[in-house]
Point group: C3
Chain length 266, copies 3
Amino acid sequence: MRPFHQQPDGLAQDGALAQQSAALVARLRVRKPRVHCITNTVAQNFTANVLLAAGCLPSMTLAADEIAGFVHSADALLVNLGTFDAERRAATAIAVDVAVREKKPWVLDPALIEASAPRAAFARALLARRPTAVRLNGPEFAALAQGAALEAFARAQATVVALSGETDGISDGARTLAVANGDPLMAKVTAMGCAASALIAAALTVERDALSATAAALTLIGVAGEIAAQTAQGPASFAVNIVDALYRVDAAGLAARARISAAKVS
Amino acid sequence: MRPFHQQPDGLAQDGALAQQSAALVARLRVRKPRVHCITNTVAQNFTANVLLAAGCLPSMTLAADEIAGFVHSADALLVNLGTFDAERRAATAIAVDVAVREKKPWVLDPALIEASAPRAAFARALLARRPTAVRLNGPEFAALAQGAALEAFARAQATVVALSGETDGISDGARTLAVANGDPLMAKVTAMGCAASALIAAALTVERDALSATAAALTLIGVAGEIAAQTAQGPASFAVNIVDALYRVDAAGLAARARISAAKVS
Amino acid sequence: MRPFHQQPDGLAQDGALAQQSAALVARLRVRKPRVHCITNTVAQNFTANVLLAAGCLPSMTLAADEIAGFVHSADALLVNLGTFDAERRAATAIAVDVAVREKKPWVLDPALIEASAPRAAFARALLARRPTAVRLNGPEFAALAQGAALEAFARAQATVVALSGETDGISDGARTLAVANGDPLMAKVTAMGCAASALIAAALTVERDALSATAAALTLIGVAGEIAAQTAQGPASFAVNIVDALYRVDAAGLAARARISAAKVS
């Protein structure tokens, strides 16, 4: 099996999947889910603004004596490993315990694990706690999957895995979807992937099928990226535009632009 | 007594109060006060840029062995509880001691205390140190005031209390002002309230009457928000515009737009 | 000798130096150097986006058990003292050891040392490790140089020293260059100097002569600032524009605008 994200067929739109993704944005704005984010200091501000633009309510505390309460009050949890200090690790252990115990959806973003053995070990331990979804980039996937293909890895870990790339591949081990929305400028803005992971956490609160929710969140940010690129002068105006687009895009606009489809495995 | 921020009369302009608020922006740009900010990592960058745009000089260190020196050199102190780690708590204790001892104005922003009992307890202990002003949102006010009305709470705590809302209510226990400036997009940008609290700290350095200073700072950011909304395409361009507007607005523009008035208590 | 940055002759362009600086931007985009940044939480997001826009790959971790690996994988290191907590100090000690041992270029930005004796002491200890370059503002230079002129201080410390100002002065103790590019709005955006220091670290990976590399990086950000100012409405749109300009400017545009020259010492 070829790695999913090289699948050219992923570029087409499946109408039913597009409608399903589009419906998500409307539900987020009604539900206004609380998303608690353990994320790195580089990403915190942008992630909070992305969540607010999409209609969600972010919180970000890491203090060991209050994070349990925040996760308990939240509808979903994001764990991003982008900065990796002792306090964040302690907070993560507590937060994941609460999420698992209370059956809240949670997302793991194993940022930059390919560059750090202790971080990779921590990511593996978190993966064993069965996050609802995992979103990662190619080098991170390679470090975790150790040669396994996307679908086999998702099956082995019993989670939804979203592999970002020119075309995103999302698999729950049985089904695999492709999302072809996005723009190359997304890779020139720090924390774009972290923010996408936060949107996945939000999406999981309004859609019980984790595969659909994950794909819908990536469709949403990908479409916003395409809208943003139309008037961007560079990566910073692109970052401004993408948050504005997340705020303005509606279900009809999303349905028209979504390039989501079931993936063929060759 | 009804909660102040439901007061429809707050929408009018009292000319003398508007002139007084407008004069503040000019004085800030001449005085260029140093404002030391203990604030959360989500808010630090935006808060620093808001202060710089208004003509102030921000500093942000939290290190226990240097914060006393920074507060001593500063003209005012902001204590925001938005992230609540051990180092921030230790830094806060030292910083407030210096501010109280040296009679420097300081502002408490008890962010998100409604979601965390330890944070609320910490906020109550800080309130007992008599901050010059407290700025908070509705749920935070409810958690602290426990049923008391704005004016009664301000009187009991012997501080100026600014309750943000569609119309802001500001009271020192004897007098109450209403500021009706602002835009709904302000609630869609993370750290907007934290930045408003930082501007209050700055305003307290150029106006001895803490009630007037607090109301003037909220008028300034509210007017900047209205200017920002005119050309915003969403919350991120709004955030860019509001900082630009804080930099560009002058006393005449502020006086023309200020909707500040004495509040009637029904 | 007068302090260098008061040198009016610094405004002219030396064609060969301008061409040399312009070539840098092209090499950065080909080499895509990894720059590990120990920088303050106020500056992290902006610094990462500045590096990405210039074609570099930033990383920012501070964890004691992984920073050695990150610095080892990086092409250059930035040490900025803008926030000064215990974890950052521990991380700095490890990171500088790796950089010195592996002969990687590293840059010291002794932010705000004039305001804090412990921070100044830490900066002096780092200076003794012989950073490849030091970038600082006037008050920081005054605190470190204690009356010495730029060239004498650079010679005594055996490093390249870049003193930011209306005209930047850059000296390696034998040669001194002046860069007159830039815009006053650069001083109204937090972390602009930190980002400039990060670009110096990046430049040192593609140019062995540390004096030329440092001057080229300051020319790059100064020219980007001039382009940014053309359409800025205030400091926040300026900050967006400067990142966009760093992304868009090419060698020809840089060569045309560079105002770099050898400095005369009077």
